[in-house]
């Protein structure tokens, strides 16, 4: 999911763009270099803000003309009043933060909807590596060795759905993604990535 093919919107971005109503207000938590946020502003007419902890990524966002706060996701939302945003987006950020539960609940407090995009750590290729090789999986989608990965939370699509049930979060929509297209069945086995539209 890290690279964008030329002239083609990343699959996860296009799924998220479809989930967001035009003209709405959006907060992107862990917005990276701001590519998705720019797309939301340009193609959906959204009003957007970003939160990002990496200095270079913040510089990139400012160069795109975005409004951005240089901040840790876990400390970023306290200032915002309830339902400030139509959507809070956490795309590929949940697996990297210290307090994911608190982050999702806070996102649901300040946003009417929350969109979570997450890698599926239980794709069948990963399962094979654990089962047959006895190694922690390193795949094209999760290319990091254990000692260098930015990911500190490892969970599957199924884990995330259980988390939502436990926290009484409604899943409005869910889309499972392979490398280049949507996965129609057995997502927890065949999807590399999942995108969920959540509500309280």
């Amino acid at each position: 999911m890290k690279t964008t093919t030329d002239n083609k919107i990343r699959l996860d971005y296009s799924v998220i763009l479809d989930m967001v109503n035009a003209g709405s207000s959006v907060l992107d938590l862990g917005c990276g270099d701001g590519e998705l946020l720019s797309l939301l502003i340009e193609s959906k007419g959204c009003r957007g803000r970003g939160i990002e902890i990496d200095e270079k990524a913040v510089f990139a966002c400012i160069a795109r003309g975005l409004t951005i706060s240089h901040e840790d996701i876990n400390y970023a939302l306290a200032a915002y009043t309830n339902k400030t945003f139509d959507y809070v987006i956490m795309n590929e950020s949940l697996q990297q933060i210290t307090h994911p539960q608190q982050a999702v609940l806070e996102a649901l407090r300040v946003g009417r909807h929350v969109i979570v995009g997450m890698p599926n750590f239980c794709h069948f290729l990963a399962r094979f590596q654990i089962f047959f090789q006895g190694r922690v999986p390193v795949t094209r989608e999760l290319p990091y060795q254990w000692y260098e990965t930015p990911n500190i939370r490892f969970f599957s699509l199924k884990d995330f759905k259980a988390f939502c049930r436990k926290n009484q979060i409604t899943i409005r929509k869910q889309t499972a993604l392979g490398l280049s297209r949507i996965v129609p069945c057995c997502p927890n086995m065949f999807a590399h990535f999942g995108i969920f539209l959540l509500e309280n």
């Binding site: 200095e55 913040v58 510089f59 400012i62 160069a63 003309g65 975005l66 409004t67 951005i68 706060s69 240089h70 901040e71 306290a78 200032a79 915002y80 009043t81 400030t84």
Partner: protein
């Protein structure tokens, strides 16, 4: 791209607030006439939408960029202001004036009190950040500018930028607030107190009545030395000086300059005395210490519904104005859903970082201004 320079620049002067239309200060006293020293760079466009007011720090002056005729050193923020630079003089009309209470062209305690024909000294009224900003507003009106594209400054300049937003919200499209605080903390006040005590305990100070005599040079130099320490970080001092020794001690007790850092501070202190007035130092540090945006209302209430857009910049190694202080302001602005961008830039140069070439700062200011230009109403 940044090899072009401004042509030779000159300081201009405006005398305003002539009696009976004196400036009414925050403390109720009236002050006038007031002379304002200022410089401008670039051209004001026809719809007057490209004006940016630069606000200097404690000991800065109107000479922010370019070279005065014959000078070897450029203005104090030449790294940021000029053709192709962050404050691009090919695009923007840049204004910088010396603050009220200063000593570099604008009326201050060293100026002549028209009532007595002598320097004001301690008869100069107590001034505030609000008064500095009020004088700048007179200048902006004089230049015919209805709405500034931005007000920008670091340290004491940042305080002024915030005051501009509060006092004249319809005149400010955006504010660039760098390495400052919304009110001075106990530690920040304490560091200023030592500087003031150094000046006032100098026997040459004579309750501020030293004009025409020896100036309180030792006290002012000491105040500057203390200041300089607070402007640097531990790391930048260590890298610059380490434990370098410039001369070995004589046999017996020798307390003369030994370490490089000692020599540097002494040099900075002594050269400061040549260009700065001790009473100005007292008045300006006092104005900064008295500054508290939250003296009447909390930050959230204060900034509610103001149309301004903000760029807030702090530096990771700045222990004089640590990032978390401006972060409180950022949170208050966010709770009002204001358009605020904030970044903590990773620099080792401490508080001085905003005055030292810094690609990050130049980058964010440049791109923020480009957006402000598009969104200017």
């Amino acid at each position: 791209m940044q090899n072009k320079e401004l042509d030779v620049v000159t300081t201009q002067y405006l005398t305003c607030c002539q009696p009976p239309d004196e400036l009414v200060l925050k403390n109720g006293q009236r002050l006038g006439p007031i002379t304002i020293a200022y410089e401008t760079y670039g051209l004001l466009n026809t719809d007057q939408s490209n004006a940016i007011l630069i606000l200097h720090a404690l000991t800065g002056d109107a000479h922010a960029a370019g070279y005065h005729a014959g000078d070897k050193r450029p203005g104090w923020w030449d790294i940021m202001i000029g053709p192709g630079k962050a404050f691009d003089t090919d695009k923007y009309f840049i204004i910088c004036s010396n603050v009220l209470g200063g000593c570099q062209g604008t009326t201050g305690p060293a100026s002549i009190n028209p009532a007595t024909g002598r320097s004001w000294g301690l008869n100069f009224p107590v001034i505030s950040i609000r008064d500095m900003v009020a004088v700048q507003k007179v200048l902006i009106d004089h230049l015919g500018i209805k709405k500034l594209l931005s007000v920008a400054g670091g340290s004491m300049g940042g305080l002024q930028a915030l005051k501009w937003v509060i006092e004249y919200p319809q005149t400010v499209h955006s504010a660039i607030v760098i390495a400052t605080n919304y009110r001075h903390s106990a530690q920040q006040i304490a560091l200023h107190v030592i500087g003031r005590q150094a000046i006032m305990s100098d026997p040459d100070w004579h309750n501020g009545e030293y004009y025409g005599h020896a100036v309180p040079a030792r006290g002012l130099a000491l105040a500057r030395m203390i200041g300089h320490i607070t402007y640097m970080s531990e790391k930048s001092m260590d890298e610059k000086f380490g434990r370098k020794v410039i001369k070995t001690e004589k046999a017996g007790k020798d307390f003369s300059v030994k370490f490089e850092v000692e020599n540097y501070l002494k040099y900075r202190g002594d050269s400061f005395v040549q260009r700065f007035d001790a009473n100005s130092y007292l008045y300006l540090t006092k104005a900064v210490d008295n500054f508290d945006l939250t003296d009447k209302a909390d930050l959230k209430t204060l900034f509610k519904d103001l149309p301004c857009k903000y760029l807030i910049i702090t530096f990771a190694s700045d222990w004089l104005y640590p990032s978390h202080q401006l972060k409180e302001l950022v949170k208050a602005l966010q709770s009002n859903n204001a358009d605020v961008t904030d970044v903590e830039i990773n620099s080792d140069y401490g508080h001085d970082a905003f005055l030292i070439p810094n690609e990050g700062q130049a980058h964010v200011v440049k791109h923020f201004l480009a957006r402000m230009e598009k969104e200017y109403l």
